[in-house]
C-alpha cells in the first residue's frame, strides 16, 4: 500500500516539478519507527567516479539525509569484485556507484557485468527526458529504457573454434525475458505510462529474439490498459533520431538496450544528466543511467569538470527507493533549478563550470 502511494506521490511531485518548480502541499506519512539512518554501500569507481560520488556525498550531507555511506574502493582492473564489497551490498541492499572501467580486448571481464549477474540485477533502467532550460535538438523526449541485464549477448561465452574463427553465444531464456517484460509493464502501470515498445531483431534472429517477443506479448495481454507495440532495432534507432516523442517505455534485450539507452540519452541532453540504475528482486545499484562516458576522459578528471547531475538524479531515485521521498524531491528540484538557470554547467552541457561549482550551486538551491 505504501509503495503504491509512494509512486502516486512521486508522480504528483514530478508533474508539479515539470510545470513550474514550486513547493508541494502534500505530507508524507512515514511508518512509525523509521528514522534511523540507512546504510548505503558506495563504490567511487574509476575516472570521474570519485569526483561525482564525492559530489553526492556532499549534497547528502548538506541535506542531512538519513543515510550514511560505506565506502569501498574497487578498480576496474581487479579480476573480481572483492568479497567484502559484495557482503556489504547484500547487507545494505542498496548501492551507489561510479563507473568501473573495463579494459578493452583482453583478459578481465567487466566488473559492472559481474556485479549485475551476481546480485541478479535483472533490470537496468534509464530515464531519458528533456531538462527544462537545457537546449537540445529534440523536444518532448521522455523515454524510459528498460533493459534485460543478465543474459543475451553479454553471456560472456566465447571461444576460438580454430585460429582465426571465433564464436560468441547469445543466450535468451524464457525465464529472463518474462521477468523483464513483467518488470517493464509493472513499471509502466505504476508510473502511469501509456505505452510499452519491445525492441528486437526477430526478422533475422528468429528464435532468440522471437522468444523474447513471445514473452513480451504474453505479459502484454495482462495489461490491457497499456498499449504494446514492437519495433525492429534499426528502425528504432532511426525513429529515435527523427521522432523521439513516439516512444514511452521501451523494453529490450541486453545489447540493443545498451545502444538504445545511449542513443536516447544522447538526444535528450547527454549521458551526463540521465539518471538510472540496476534493480533486482532483492538489491538495487544506482549509477549514471547510460553507460557511455561513465568513466570519462583523463582530461575531465584532471580539470575536475565531470558532470555530477546524472549521479545526483540517480541518488534521488535511490532516496525514493529507500522511501525518503521528500529528500528525493528536494534534491531533484534543486538540481533542475540549477540546470534551468543555466549559469552553472559543465563542459558537456555547454558551460565551463567545474564539478565543485555545480555541487555548490545545488547545495545553495536546496530548501
Amino acid at each position: 500500500m505504501s509503495r503504491r502511494s509512494l509512486t502516486l506521490l512521486k508522480n504528483l511531485a514530478r508533474n508539479s516539478n515539470a510545470s513550474c518548480i514550486q513547493t508541494r502541499s502534500v505530507t508524507y506519512m512515514p511508518r512509525p519507527g523509521d528514522g534511523s539512518p540507512r546504510a548505503v554501500t558506495l563504490i567511487p569507481g574509476d575516472g570521474i567516479g570519485p569526483l561525482v560520488t564525492n559530489a553526492v556525498e556532499q549534497v547528502m550531507e548538506a541535506m542531512h539525509a538519513p543515510i550514511y555511506f560505506e565506502k569501498y574502493d574497487v578498480q576496474g582492473e581487479m579480476s573480481r569484485v572483492p568479497a567484502e564489497v559484495m557482503e556489504s551490498i547484500r547487507k545494505n541492499k542498496v548501492c551507489l556507484k561510479g563507473g568501473l572501467k573495463t579494459p578493452v580486448g583482453g583478459g578481465v571481464s567487466s566488473l559492472n557485468v559481474q556485479l549485475r549477474k551476481e546480485l541478479d540485477l535483472f533490470a537496468s533502467l534509464v530515464n531519458c527526458f528533456n531538462l527544462p532550460g537545457l537546449p537540445t535538438r529534440h523536444e518532448n523526449v521522455d523515454i524510459v529504457v528498460i533493459r534485460e541485464n543478465t543474459e543475451g549477448e553479454y553471456a560472456g561465452l566465447e571461444h576460438e573454434v580454430v585460429p582465426g574463427v571465433v564464436e560468441s553465444l547469445k543466450v535468451i531464456t524464457k525465464f529472463c525475458s518474462e521477468r523483464i517484460a513483467k518488470y517493464a509493464f509493472e513499471y509502466a502501470y505504476l508510473n502511469n505510462r501509456k505505452k510499452v515498445t519491445a525492441v528486437h531483431k526477430a526478422n533475422i534472429m528468429k528464435l532468440a529474439d522471437g522468444l523474447f517477443l513471445e514473452s513480451c506479448r504474453e505479459v502484454a495481454k495482462k495489461y490491457p490498459g497499456i498499449t504494446y507495440n514492437e519495433i525492429i532495432v534499426d528502425n528504432c534507432c532511426m525513429q529515435l533520431v527523427a521522432k523521439p516523442e513516439q516512444f514511452d517505455v521501451m523494453v529490450t534485450p541486453n545489447l540493443y538496450g545498451n545502444l538504445v539507452a545511449n542513443t536516447a540519452a544522447g538526444i535528450a541532453g547527454g549521458t551526463g544528466v540521465m539518471p538510472g540504475g540496476n534493480v533486482g528482486a532483492d538489491h538495487a545499484v544506482f549509477e549514471q543511467g547510460a553507460s557511455a562516458g561513465n568513466v570519462g576522459k583523463d582530461s575531465i578528471v584532471r580539470k575536475n569538470k565531470a558532470n555530477p547531475v546524472a549521479l545526483l538524479l540517480s541518488s534521488a531515485m535511490m532516496l525514493r527507493h529507500l522511501q525518503f521521498p521528500s529528500f528525493a524531491d528536494r534534491l531533484e528540484t534543486a538540481v533542475k533549478k540549477v540546470i534551468s538557470e543555466g549559469k552553472c554547467r559543465t563542459k558537456d552541457l555547454g558551460g565551463q563550470s567545474t564539478t565543485q561549482e555545480v555541487v555548490d550551486a545545488v547545495i545553495a538551491k536546496l530548501e
Binding site: 573495463t102 579494459p103 578493452v104 580486448g105 583482453g106 583478459g107 571481464s109 567487466s110 557485468v113 535538438r137 529534440h138 549477448e153 553479454y154 560472456g156 566465447e158 571461444h159 576460438e160 585460429p163 582465426g164 574463427v165 571465433v166 564464436e167 560468441s168 553465444l169 547469445k170 543466450v171 535468451i172 531464456t173 524464457k174 525465464f175 531483431k201 533475422i204 534472429m205 528468429k206 528464435l207 532468440a208 522468444l211 532495432v233 534499426d234 534507432c237 532511426m238 525513429q239 529515435l240 533520431v241 527523427a242 545489447l255 540493443y256 545498451n258 545502444l259 545511449n262 542513443t263 540519452a265 544522447g266 538526444i267 547527454g270 549521458t271 547510460a290 553507460s291 557511455a292 562516458g293
Partner: protein
C-alpha cells in the same frame, strides 16, 4: 555548400591514381558501352527505375542496362525467386543496381537479399550519409560513411533451442572476413580522400569476437599511416553520433552494429528515402541498391521519390570510374533538392516523380 561539393570533387579525383585492388578489368573504352544489370524490383521499383534511366540517358552515360525481374516462382537452381540468369548476369557484368524488393512470405526458399549476398559474395555494405543542402533536418553537418561487414557476425543465422525456453544464437567473427572489410574500408578512405577511420566495437564485453575484429582493423591501420585511426565502443559511438555527428568520418564495423548504425545515420540525414548504398563483392563486383522498402501503397501513383536509387546509381558510376558524369548527376540532384521547387511528397513537396525527374534532367 560550395566547400562541401568541392571536397567531393577533390576526393574523387584522387581515386584515379590508385587502382582498386580487385578490379583488374578495365571497365570501359570510349566506344563500347558498359553492361550493367538492373533489378527494378517491386512496388515503386519500376517507376523509380524508369526515372533513373531517364536521368542517366540525359547525362549521356554509356551503359547498356540488362534488366531482370524477380520471377513469381521459385527457381530450383537458386532455390529462390531470383533466376539463375539474373545471377549470371550480375556475375558477368560485375556491376548492378537493385531497386526495392519485397520478399514474398513463404517457406522453402531463401530470401532474395540473402541469395544475392551469398551467391555474389558481397562482403561490404557501404553507405555514405551526408546532409543534403537545402533539405533541413535537425542535423546539418553530417558527412560520414558507414562500412558494414555483410556476411557473418550476428547474422549467420545459426540458432537453436537448447532446451525448452532456452535459445542460443551464435555470432561468428572470422579473421578472413574482418581483414577483408577492414582492407576495403581503408582503401575506400584513401581513394576518396577521407581523413579518419573509426572501428566500432564492443570488445570490452565480447572480448574474443570483437577483439578479433579490432585486431584485424589494427593490422590494416598500420599499413595506412596517413589515415587517422580510432576505436570507439558502440554505446559511446551512438551517443556521439546523436550529439555531434561531425566527429565521425568513415566507420567500419561488424554486421549487427553496422545495421543499426547505418540506419541511425540515415535517420540523421532524412531517412531511407534519401540514402544510397552499395554492396561490394569479391572480384570487384559492385551492386548498388536503394535500401528503402517497396512502398506498395504508393506504387503506380507517380508519387515515389527516386533520390535513393539515383544516388546509388551515382555511387555505381564512381565505382566504374566515370567520375565526371557521376559528379554531373550528383550536382543536378543536389541542386534540384536545394532549390526546393520540385520535391516529392516525402520531402514535404508536391511534385510527382516525373516532374522531379524532369527537373533533375534540366539541371544537368
Amino acid at each position: 555548400m560550395a566547400a562541401f561539393l568541392a571536397r567531393r570533387l577533390l576526393g574523387t579525383s584522387t581515386s584515379s591514381s590508385s587502382a582498386l585492388m580487385s578490379s583488374a578489368r578495365a571497365f570501359s573504352s570510349s566506344t563500347t558501352p558498359i553492361k550493367a544489370t538492373l533489378f527494378p524490383g517491386d512496388g515503386i521499383g519500376p517507376e523509380i527505375a524508369e526515372s533513373f534511366k531517364q536521368v542517366f540517358t540525359a547525362a549521356d552515360v554509356a551503359i547498356d542496362w540488362d534488366e531482370h525481374y524477380v520471377s513469381t516462382e521459385v527457381d530450383p537452381r537458386t532455390n529462390s525467386f531470383l533466376t539463375w540468369e539474373s545471377l549470371q548476369s550480375v556475375l558477368d557484368n560485375k556491376v548492378g543496381l537493385k531497386g526495392p524488393m519485397a520478399t514474398p512470405i513463404g517457406k522453402g526458399h531463401r530470401s532474395l537479399n540473402l541469395t544475392l549476398r551469398k551467391e555474389l559474395n558481397l562482403y561490404a555494405n557501404v553507405r555514405p550519409c551526408y546532409s543534403l543542402p537545402g533539405y533541413k533536418t535537425r542535423y546539418d553537418d553530417v558527412d560520414l560513411i558507414t562500412i558494414r561487414e555483410n556476411t557473418e557476425g550476428e547474422y549467420s543465422g545459426l540458432e537453436h533451442q537448447v532446451v525448452k525456453g532456452v535459445v542460443e544464437s551464435i555470432k561468428i567473427i572470422t579473421r578472413k572476413a574482418s581483414m577483408r572489410v577492414a582492407e576495403y574500408a581503408f582503401l575506400y578512405a584513401k581513394t576518396h580522400g577521407r581523413k579518419k577511420v573509426s572501428a566500432i566495437h564492443k570488445a570490452n564485453i565480447m572480448q574474443k569476437t570483437d577483439g578479433l575484429f579490432l585486431q584485424c582493423c589494427d593490422e590494416v591501420a598500420e599499413k595506412y599511416p596517413e589515415i587517422e585511426y580510432e576505436k570507439v565502443v558502440i554505446d559511446n559511438c551512438c551517443m556521439m553520433l546523436v550529439k555531434n555527428p561531425a566527429l565521425f568520418d568513415v566507420l567500419v564495423m561488424p554486421n549487427l552494429y553496422g545495421d543499426i548504425i547505418s540506419d541511425l545515420c540515415a535517420g540523421l540525414v532524412g531517412g531511407l528515402g534519401l540514402t544510397p548504398s552499395c554492396n561490394i563483392g569479391e572480384d570487384g563486383i559492385a551492386l548498388a541498391e536503394a535500401v528503402h522498402g517497396s512502398a506498395p501503397d504508393i506504387a503506380g501513383k507517380n508519387l515515389a521519390n527516386p533520390t535513393a536509387l539515383l544516388l546509388s546509381g551515382v555511387m555505381m558510376l564512381r565505382h566504374l570510374k566515370l567520375n565526371k558524369q557521376a559528379e554531373q548527376i550528383h550536382s543536378a540532384i543536389i541542386n534540384t533538392i536545394a532549390e526546393g521547387k520540385y520535391r516529392t511528397a516525402d520531402l514535404g513537396g508536391t511534385s510527382t516523380t516525373t516532374e522531379f525527374t524532369k527537373a533533375i534532367c534540366d539541371h544537368l
